[in-house]
């Protein structure tokens, strides 16, 4: 189900429409980085991503009066961004509506629930044995692993994972935003999550071995994770 326009949204939209600058400034501050992260799923160019976001904000300003409360304010702004991104990136490289097999180099599938078409794991999964997953996921190294794994996903998987899991947008809204069928959306999400899982799996199992090794010797093996961190980072900090 699409997320519905709620009370908080209504209060905010009313303030914006009454010309409340503080409300608008707060909206820009709260959403700008996230919009840029979404824009970066459409382009590897940081400056083009900035242009996409800037045009999005201008369109938001112009469009606020016409906003019809049929979605959340955030989803509406995301949809403006996606349209701008398609237009602007079309100049960089032609926007092609990508079908799953072309994108992944994986065989085409026709998916039905429970038909067993997504495929098995490549290795039998072994428990990670995390006592406190939330704490582990807050460590700098683990965040890097997850960010890099997301950055390396094929474009459509990256968009779907970003919207569904990082931004927590509903499946129905993601289908609308990205012009995807429900089945494709599921498959892209599953494949994206499966790839991020694989990266975490390698990292966490390697980390467990490392702890055993460092318990055996006093060698400091910190920083053994060696995947490049420079590939299309999701949240690119200034000057990095």
């Amino acid at each position: 189900m699409p997320e519905s326009f709620d009370r908080t949204d209504k209060v905010l939209v009313d303030r914006l429409r009454s010309g409340d600058e503080l409300a608008f400034a707060a909206l820009v501050d709260g959403l700008h980085s996230r919009l840029r992260a979404l824009a970066r799923t459409f382009t590897s160019s940081p400056s083009l991503a900035e242009d996409i976001v800037q045009e999005t904000w201008l369109a938001v300003i112009r469009g606020l009066r016409g906003f019809e409360n049929r979605s959340t304010l955030r989803t509406w702004i995301f949809s403006i961004l996606v349209r701008r991104a398609k237009t602007l990136t079309a100049r960089e490289a032609r926007w092609v509506k990508v079908s799953i097999p072309q994108e992944d180099g994986e065989p085409p599938i026709e998916w039905e629930p429970g038909r067993g078409r997504l495929g098995l794991w490549d290795e039998r999964p072994v428990p990670w044995g995390l006592e406190d997953p939330a704490a582990v996921f807050q460590t700098r190294e683990t965040l890097e692993v997850v960010k890099n794994a997301v950055a390396r996903l094929p474009d459509m998987q990256r968009r779907v994972v970003f919207l569904r899991d990082i931004e927590d947008v509903s499946a129905a809204d993601v289908c609308n935003l990205l012009d995807l069928g429900e089945t494709n959306q599921r498959v892209l999400l599953h494949r994206g999550r499966a790839r991020v899982r694989r990266a975490l799996d390698r990292y966490l199992r390697d980390g467990a071995e490392r702890q055993v090794r460092s318990a055996e010797s006093t060698t400091n093996a910190a920083g053994a994770y060696s995947e490049p961190s420079s590939i299309r980072p999701l949240h690119q900090g200034r000057g990095t």
Binding site: R17, S18, G19, E21, F24, A25, V28, D29, H32, S33, R34, R36, A37, E50, V53, Q54, W57, L58, I61, L64, W111, P113, G114, R115, G116, R117, L118, G119, L120, W121, R124, P125, V126, P127, W128, L130, P133, A134, F137, Q138, L143, V146, K147, V150, V161, D165, I166, D168, R186, L189, H190, R193, A194, V196, R197, L200, D201, L234, H235, G237
Partner: protein
């Protein structure tokens, strides 16, 4: 239900929207297959890891200009 069939449904299971027609056979498979239990747990944790990625806090480098434009837009309509 076998492992590949169960894997197809794991996304729905962690999003808590597994179709009810599959619930019983999915649960049965999970009860008997430790690999699928582990995989499902991994996918759950993966989503948790994705959800815990910090959101950037940088604002727009055109912040002032945007607020200016916003004011102009809404001033104009008040006139």
């Amino acid at each position: 239900m076998n492992c590949p069939e169960a894997i197809d449904l794991m996304g729905d299971a962690i999003d808590a929207c597994l179709p009810s027609t599959f619930q019983a056979s999915f649960d049965d498979h999970m009860a008997e297959c430790s690999s699928c239990r582990t995989y499902l747990e991994h996918l759950r944790l993966t989503r948790q890891a994705l959800q815990s990625l910090p959101r950037g806090t940088e604002t727009s480098s055109h912040r002032k200009e945007l607020i200016q434009k916003f004011s102009e837009e809404f001033d104009r309509t008040r006139d």
